[in-house]
Symmetry: C2
Subunit: 201 residues, 2 copies
Amino acid sequence: MTSPATQRRDGTDRPVPQRLLAAATRLFADRGYDRTSVQEIVEAAGVTKGALYHYFGSKDDLLHEIYGRVLRLQQERLDAFAEADAPVERRLRDAAADVVVTTIENLDDASIFFRSMHQLSEEKQKQVRAERRRYHERFRALIEEGQQAGVFTSSTPADLVVDYHFGSVHHLSTWYRPDGRLTPQEVADHLADLLLRALRP
Amino acid sequence: MTSPATQRRDGTDRPVPQRLLAAATRLFADRGYDRTSVQEIVEAAGVTKGALYHYFGSKDDLLHEIYGRVLRLQQERLDAFAEADAPVERRLRDAAADVVVTTIENLDDASIFFRSMHQLSEEKQKQVRAERRRYHERFRALIEEGQQAGVFTSSTPADLVVDYHFGSVHHLSTWYRPDGRLTPQEVADHLADLLLRALRP
DNA sequence: AGCCACATACCGACTGGTTAGTCTGTGGAG
DNA sequence: CTCCACAGACTAACCAGTCGGTATGTGGCT
């Protein structure tokens, strides 16, 4: 029962599909989807095209899987924070800071996420947007809860506040460097502070 | 003296280079740089490849010109607001709101800007980054001025505040729709409010 | 006024290179 | 013997950039 669902020819390393996903993530983040050839991906993963098309239907599927992975992870974490037993300010702060940390820890995913949306087929884009919307709405609900409770100002629509915060999260992949002077947690705290200060009545 | 520097064969419409730039902007924004063929650009502009390569050295040059246009425009506007004769809060607010309006009014430019950086040649990227840094620093100086004067909180480094705000500006091209319920000016006012509230001591 | 020389502004067929995806084949486990 | 998990040569399509050619305008000379 210790063997993975998918076996590989040689016993080394992780299963092939995961290696392909990892190689694709790295390459997509750094050259962009269109500039990365399938050949480069399989070479980086130490396999051949046969293997890739054995597990994935298309190059596009590979990208879609990356989106799925990120969306699942973030949604899970947000739900956990949102449902916690604490005052709204606390829950929003924790959730806001957590996306920042998680995003920084997966910077490759983040740069792919916001740059490669339109390389996805129309239907897959629709699916991603739908999941994204669920996430967005969960976050918005938190803010609206605080506004109704009077702990957050209502002078800015909750929608806009969500976009304001996620703008800065998306932007992280543009400027954050792991060798910079701020740790992920420090950046997260600052950004969460900015959000909460902007929401003070 | 009324004739443009560049003459075109037929007297109709705007000069060819501008038509090419406009067509390229539209197409790059909606299919992405790599997904847009030179053939499509010239067809949209009503000319042929000969014309394009007569005015531009490469497809890449076309993109570079788009970046140049945006950077020049934004830098000019920022400088004007920053040098105005008014208290810092006022100058920052006006500048912050203005980028939002200008960005919304050129949404195509905005989506190209933050999605197509990597398609530029290394040297052109370096140039764009340098101009971008100048812009960034001008903005940061405004915030630092306010922090030193004590009208803005110093609890968040000015750098981070700039990235926070520009994150939301970049993000506009992802969510803003001209047929939405908020006008560009309303969005700009809200985002500027959020920034200024986040900076209150 | 007429004519020549040259420049500018394009046209569009062609080339060399690249790429996603296919398909036939094969080694090893059970 | 069979089937899964992959190998890798092959194909059909596409695309940036080139290049030889053409049309229109312009200035100088006579």
